[in-house]
């Protein structure tokens, strides 16, 4: 028996360890002085400081709080009345309705998110015509014809998924409530509405409060539904955290997660204590057993019903209302008042101080969002839900977007800094007349390897496919790059449309995969893996290699002898961008020499600004008081002879894109 008990306790302990160890670790490392999530370098609040200086985090926290508070308030009111309505139905109807109410909670968030997105997009399409008609019909109010996803849709989505939780919490209180209470109140002279405020409301208040608390935590927590319904201009805290982890889990993420965990924990503890107390009271009440009240509570209760106590109660309620309203007003002002420009770029692809500077200089708020690949960006745009102004796709994607009429021509008269762009990066095949783009960065793809894990120097793509480093290679998780590299290795053009050649390239990869060459398919996860020495070889971008080098000096980069891809990422403006002029200002600001220097220094990608590229080594020396390693400079800004070996992607015909896509899905590592 004793042994048994030990066994079960041990198992329970193990379960809890399994549940809480990750969170404890996260909390622990949020206080790490170093920037690793694996090596303890001493206690520090550094990451919390960093957190509160991170504008993205603070802004999205404001958005999250605003949306959660408003959604909670609306959902609580709506849910309470809905619950009362459901409760007054006959049992025949009541139970099915409650089941229907449970469904959205069980439903996968992603389904809810996608369906809300579809609904909004469909509505927006219809709305355009309705608004135009309304505007033509009367001139009193001008209705906006173009609606986009944003704070409004986010709020609607949150309200809609919060309501079931409120109902779920209020309904049991109604069921427990003596059905005669309302009648008793009416019997004593109350109209229904008086009875609601004097009797129902106080009776179900505990349910309403826990419903509101749970709705609030659900709102704060939500990622998936927000992701689909927030649009491009709005970002909640969880979306920001998601964006941060794409590149590298910095301890800032640990810090913010710790704070969220603690906040939710506190809310839950409060709620549980309340519920336990209520349950005790309710069970005593049901058994008609007199409850011994503690004399202090009794005295307090008596005091509450004195005129003075009543006054204090009303005052407290008024203060709460004022706090709620002013918080909402403040958060609203904080999130929406200024003119904006919506930018979507890649993760860790800008010196964030530049955003602050731009905002300070122009008064325009920058909604800066990130996504992780050209293909993801494309699907976001073609969905119709996004309302970015500025996007920064790569060359081949730009030509695809132009082809599909998704880009707006730029007004170069508003972008004087375009002059400074090196002519090498103007009029490139993806935008031959240069009507749509201002280059942002350029660079090469190459092999990144850990010299302590390989023999000698690597200079050929063969390292990816030969048996030597089986299980040590990271395959780039995007069809264009992965197949492009294989094509290059086989001596074909990266832009070939010959199906035979592409299939040959695919088989090369598939064969290597079958032999267990690849540890996995990665995009930005490559940072963690390579920096941590967990893989020997990867293929990635030169600029990112330099970022990794800062954290692991054993890494090396090479543009293999067979040649490689060189790319340009350029700023474009989307068709019908809501903030076109602000977008011009932003592009001009980023194209300046100063911005380019700072970006180059921060993200290690080469600048297309001729002046900035030339003076960077000198600028670096001035900034840091030491010479820039010419080898590093050469990796960042590949010399012409390297570029000559490289080929730029062009937009492939549709059939070839489909082939790429099919093969990539088939590979399925």
């Amino acid at each position: 028996m004793g042994k048994n008990r030990f066994g079960s306790r041990f198992l329970i302990g193990l379960c809890f360890l399994f549940l809480y160890l990750p969170i404890l670790l996260l909390i622990f490392f949020s206080f790490n002085a170093g920037d690793s999530s694996a090596v303890w370098k001493g206690f520090s609040l550094h990451w919390y400081r960093e957190l509160f200086h991170n504008r993205l985090v603070i802004e999205s926290l404001a958005t999250t709080l605003l949306v959660s508070l408003l959604a909670t308030a609306i959902a609580t009111a709506a849910g309470t009345f809905a619950a009362i309505g459901i409760y007054s139905l006959r049992k025949k109807w009541r139970d099915p309705v409650l089941v229907v109410n449970d469904l959205p909670m069980m439903n996968a968030d992603i389904v809810t998110g996608v369906s809300l997105l579809l609904l909004f997009v469909a509505f927006f399409r219809g709305w355009g015509a309705i608004a135009a008609w309304l505007n033509s019909w009367q001139s009193l109010i001008t209705f906006p014809t173009r609606l986009t996803l944003g704070l409004g849709t986010l709020l609607i989505a949150h309200v809609s998924f919060d309501i079931p939780y409120v109902i779920l919490n209020v309904a049991p209180r109604l069921r427990q409530m003596d059905a005669n209470l309302v009648e008793a109140a009416q019997d004593l002279g109350c109209t229904w509405i008086q009875a609601f405020f004097k009797v129902i409301l106080p009776e179900i208040k505990p349910g309403i409060v826990s419903g509101a608390l749970i709705a609030f935590t659900m709102s704060v927590d939500d990622f998936v539904i927000s992701y689909f319904t927030a649009g491009s201009a709005t970002q909640t805290l969880s979306m920001t955290i998601y964006g941060m982890t794409k590149k590298r889990v910095t301890p800032v993420v640990n810090a913010v997660s710790t704070l969220i965990f603690l906040a939710v924990l506190i809310i839950l503890i409060i709620n549980n204590i309340r519920e336990a107390r209520q349950a005790k009271l309710a069970s005593k009440r049901a058994s008609f057993e007199p409850v011994r009240e503690n004399p202090r509570a009794e005295r307090f209760r008596a005091w509450l019903s004195t005129p003075r106590g009543k006054l204090m109660r009303r005052a407290a309620a008024a203060v709460l209302c004022v706090v709620f309203v002013s918080t909402t007003v403040f958060l609203t002002a904080f999130t929406t008042s200024r003119p904006v420009v919506n930018v979507c770029s890649w993760g860790e692809y800008i010196d964030e101080d530049l955003i602050d500077e731009f905002e300070a200089k122009t008064g325009i708020r920058v909604n800066y969002q990130t996504t992780d690949s050209n293909e993801t960006l494309y699907s976001l745009l073609s969905n119709g839900g996004a309302d970015y102004d500025v996007v920064v796709p790569s060359d081949y994607m730009i030509s695809q977007l132009i082809e599909e009429g998704m880009l707006e021509e730029l007004d170069y008269s508003q972008i004087p800094n375009f002059e400074k762009i090196d002519s090498r990066f103007k009029n490139l095949p993806y935008d031959p007349e240069n009507k749509y783009t201002v280059p942002y960065t350029w660079g090469t793809v190459g092999i990144i390897y850990n010299e302590t894990m390989v023999d000698g120097e690597i200079d050929s793509w063969s390292a990816l496919y030969d048996g030597e480093y089986a299980g040590q290679v990271l395959l780039i998780n995007n069809s264009r790059d992965a197949l492009g590299i294989a094509l290059m290795y086989l001596g074909y053009s990266v832009n070939t449309t010959d199906e035979g050649q592409i299939r040959e390239a695919y088989e090369l990869i598939e064969d290597a995969a079958r032999r267990g060459m690849f540890q996995g398919k990665v995009m930005d996860e490559v940072f963690q893996t390579m920096e941590g020495g967990n893989a020997a070889i990867a293929t990635y971008y030169a600029g990112d290699y330099l970022s990794m080098l800062e954290n692991n000096e054993n890494l090396r980069f090479v543009v293999p002898k067979e040649g490689s891809n060189w790319f340009v990422d350029a700023m474009c403006v989307l068709k019908d961008a809501p903030n076109y002029d602000n977008a011009m200002k932003w592009i001009n600001f980023i194209a300046s020499t100063e911005s380019n220097l700072r970006n180059m220094d921060y993200i290690w990608y080469a600048s297309p600004n001729k002046e900035a590229l030339e003076i960077y080594p000198a600028w670096y020396e001035e900034q840091y008081g030491e010479e820039l390693d010419p080898e590093i400079y050469e990796i960042m800004a590949a010399p012409q002879e390297v570029l000559d070996r490289c080929e730029m992607y062009v937009c492939l015909p549709k059939a070839t894109r489909k082939l790429y896509n099919d093969l990539w899905i088939k590979l399925g590592i």
Binding site: S88, R90, K91, D178, A179, N180, L181, E183, A184, A185, Q186, D187, L188, G189, C190, T191, Q194, K198, V199, P202, E203, L281, K284, R285, F288, P290, V291, R292, E293, E298, R301, A302, S305
Partner: protein, 394 residues
């Protein structure tokens, strides 16, 4: 005492094709203690709710002091209710529960015909609440929370809360159902006392016949949505109108009989002298013989002879079940006759009560299936009545 206050005229109530009340015609007098008595589902609570204004009859009219009040909402009726489980407001203390109705501004039609909202002054509310708490013997409980009261105390609060509004009629929906046996007896006295002290009409609903007989001036026996009999407790007990009433009120042996002549009734092919008359010659009738009206004598002396099948000691008397020609009677007697013994019985003429045949004939009065256990299972007070929806009867 005999001024008519409430009248129900041709009242019928149906829920989803189920008729709960059928063509009810009844009036209630001022200052009367009246009890609606019947088994679960007989429509008594529905009748109470119609008077209270919580339900509108499907057809028929309700008059209060001669005025039709079908469409008057509960909060405008001069009627207050004590609910089954009291329905006290748990978030308010005793004082506030009682003061609840007084704090609601009332619409009062003045002499000039104008209606205005009148709010009672704090002093008036206070004096009325304290006065009422005194009436129900709850002085000093003002600040207690409802949860800290016993069932009987809660009951008193519920009564005070209703009476403080000075209604003309107090409706009580199974007011003693949630109390234990002893408390119930005490509260019966207490209710009667309060009713006399306040001098208003009490309409009480119960399925407990003892309670009905003990408290009421008038008892209304109901079954299946129809009033079976109205009368004083004595009338109801001594002169039940049909087998249902006879069975429901007290214990009864009900047997088929034939009226051979005035004051001569035949049962089991034997003629007995009785006090009833006015039936046709040879008319088939139901004959009620109360268990306590039967004397046990020796087999040879008996008018009827039978075999004792079971005996239960009840304190004052024995419940003795006797088999007469396959029909089992309950006899309450202080004489002990062991099971299996052969006995004879005698019944005096006033021990017979003859009733006309009704739809209830043949359903009741045979104690073949009688047992302690059976009795208990059928005790409605022990059933946890699941109330369902606002509209459904019990």
């Amino acid at each position: 005492m005999s001024k008519e206050l409430i009248r129900l005229k041709d009242v019928t109530m149906t829920f989803d094709d189920v008729t709960v009340l059928k063509d009810i015609n009844i009036y209630f007098n001022d200052q009367e203690f009246l009890t609606l008595l019947g088994p679960s589902g007989c429509g008594k609570t529905t009748m109470l709710r119609i008077i209270g204004g919580f339900q509108t009859p499907t057809s028929g009219d309700v008059f209060f002091d001669g005025v039709r009040i079908n469409d008057v909402p509960p909060y405008r009726r001069q009627v207050n209710t004590v609910f089954q489980k009291y329905a006290l407001f748990p978030h308010l203390n005793v004082y506030e529960n009682v003061a609840f109705g007084l704090r609601i501004p009332r619409e009062v039609t003045g002499d000039n015909g104008k209606t205005e909202k009148v709010k009672l002054s704090r002093e008036e509310i206070d004096s009325r609440v304290r006065e009422m708490l005194e009436v129900v013997s709850l002085k000093g409980f003002e600040n207690r929370s409802i949860a800290s009261l016993s069932g009987g105390q809660q009951q008193r609060v519920a009564i005070a809360r209703a009476l403080v509004n000075r209604p003309k009629v107090l409706l009580l929906d199974e007011p003693l159902g949630a109390l234990d046996m002893r408390l119930r007896k005490d509260m019966q006295q207490e209710l009667k006392r309060i009713q006399q002290q306040m001098g208003i009409t009490f309409i009480n609903v119960t399925h407990d016949q003892e309670e009905a007989l003990a408290m009421s001036d008038t008892v209304v026996v109901m079954n299946e949505g129809v009033i079976q009999q109205i009368g004083t407790p004595e009338d109801i007990y001594n002169e039940p109108k049909n087998a249902f009433v006879a069975d429901f009120i007290g214990e009864s042996n009900i047997v088929d009989g034939i009226m051979r002549a005035d004051r001569v009734v035949e049962i089991f092919n034997r003629r007995f002298a009785c006090l009833d008359g006015g039936f046709a010659k040879d008319e088939p009738v139901d004959v009620v013989i109360r268990p306590e009206d039967v004397d046990i004598v020796s087999e040879t002396e008996g008018q009827l002879r039978g075999t004792v099948t079971s005996v239960t000691f009840k304190g004052v008397h024995y419940d003795t079940i006797v088999d007469f020609y396959g029909f089992k009677w309950l006899i309450q007697t202080t004489d002990y006759c062991p099971a299996g013994s052969r006995i004879g019985i005698r019944i005096d003429p006033d021990g017979f009560h003859v009733m006309k045949k009704s739809k209830y004939s043949g359903l009741y009065g045979d104690y073949s299936s009688y047992s302690e256990e059976y009795d208990e299972i059928n005790d409605p007070t022990l059933l946890d009545v699941e109330e369902e929806g606002a509209g459904d009867e019990e």
